[in-house]
Amino acid sequence: MSLELVASDIAKKYDSGQVLQECSFSFRECGLYVLMGPNGSGKSTFLRISALLEEPDRGDVRFYRNGSQVEKDISIRRRITLLLPKIGVFNATVFWNAAYGLKIRGLQRDEIQERVGKALDFVGLGSKKYQKALTLSSGETQRLGIARALAIEPEIFFLDEPTASIDHKNTAIVEDILLKLKKAKKTIIIMTTHDMAQAERLADTMLIMQNGKLVTQSA
């Protein structure tokens, strides 16, 4: 029923050098996968390719439902989302930002109200609905990014260093949100971090990225 992601032999090279080589992994079960690795090891590139934001030089990203491969068309693109390290806040209210993904899907106003309300409450921003999003703190902005993603109810949710630029208090809040999400068992969550302790607190499955290869995995 749920969407599965299979990355096979992904390779990617930039002008600066080879970033990914022969990266393969199957994300089949709902849960929280943590990609660990030092800066520049290719974690973000792997995420961007898996989230269909970039094309690999070699290899393939495939999606399956009920054992059958599905086309990587707009309907699949709308079942996955990536939280970028800098989320990109629209110059509008918190509500408008969180509702963006639903508006572009043409959802009815009532449904948008309900889903955005739920998502904002989930990340603790329910009371800031009508505040200008650009006036939020860094931690709140990150939580808005999560709410904006959750509102579209993704089946695969990628998060690229979601706590890299926020303080301890907000990191704890974001981790708590991710743990609640993981507990709901409805989503494949794939996040990157270079904080080993955080990976241990959150991960169902831990993947290590080193020199562009997925070298180790541990449960």
Binding site: G88, F90, Y100
Partner: protein, 234 residues
């Protein structure tokens, strides 16, 4: 000194009594400049957006051309449009010379580079992360472009207002192609020039005051949009 004060008093009287000639000139000015600006915006905003978002052959040339034409002297534009629309010109058969349409054409040429250039700048100044954010949330390429245009809206409006300022204050081009015909192609700036020559300062001053008020309003709107646009966090 007394004649200046007297001129001002008569000018205010013309404004307060809504003098028919004065009102007619103001309405024609707004119609000509408004139409020119509308058409310039309808062409300039998509042109600025496309050059801001897409890479294609000739893009650099279009950007360079619109930047260069931002400072076009109005009399040169007037001369160019005159030559095109005059009886012996390529479009002379249309009979547009000395009509409000000719004035609109001249003002479109003046406003278009400003609207295009400032719209382009507004678009390219938007952080590329905004387009990526829209894409991660499932936006199609068209929806992604719309999201960027929405983010650049304050800068785009500033471009439109700057274009309005340019055409409202312009006299050289419309004097040449409009002919300053009373009740037909006589607008605020050309009337000021003519009435000053004639020594009839009341109407010139009254129109000068109205132009200043319009200019003040344009700048107030521009200030508000620039302030709103500057709220974006770096």
């Amino acid at each position: 000194m007394n004649s200046i004060i007297e001129g001002f008093l008569k000018a205010f009287s013309l404004i307060l009594t809504l003098d028919r000639e004065l009102v007619g000139i103001i309405i024609l000015s707004l119609q000509v400049s408004g139409t020119a600006l509308l058409i310039a915006s309808l062409i300039g905003i998509p042109a600025g957006t496309i050059t801001g978002l897409m890479k294609f052959p000739g893009r650099g040339f279009i950007i360079m051309l619109s930047n260069t034409f931002m400072g076009l002297p109005p009399v040169v534009v007037g001369l160019f449009v005159y030559l095109i629309l005059s009886r012996s010109g390529p479009l002379g058969f249309m009979g547009l010379l000395y009509t409000p349409s000719a004035m609109i054409v001249a003002q479109i040429i003046l406003a278009l580079p400003i609207v295009t250039s400032l719209c382009h700048s507004a678009i390219v100044n938007i952080d590329p992360i905004m387009g990526q954010a829209a894409a991660t949330l499932g936006a199609t390429p068209y929806q992604k472009a719309l999201a960027i245009v929405r983010e650049a809206r304050h800068g785009i409006f500033s471009g439109i207002i700057a274009g309005l300022g340019r055409v409202m204050a312009e006299v050289g081009a419309i004097l040449i192609v409009g002919g300053n015909i009373a009740g037909y192609t006589r607008v605020m700036t050309t009337t000021i020039a003519l009435e000053t020559d004639k020594g009839n300062f009341e109407l010139a001053l009254a129109l000068g005051i109205i132009l200043l008020i319009i200019s003040l309003l344009i700048n107030m709107v521009l200030y508000v949009f620039q302030k709103k646009g500057a709220q974006r966090r770096p």
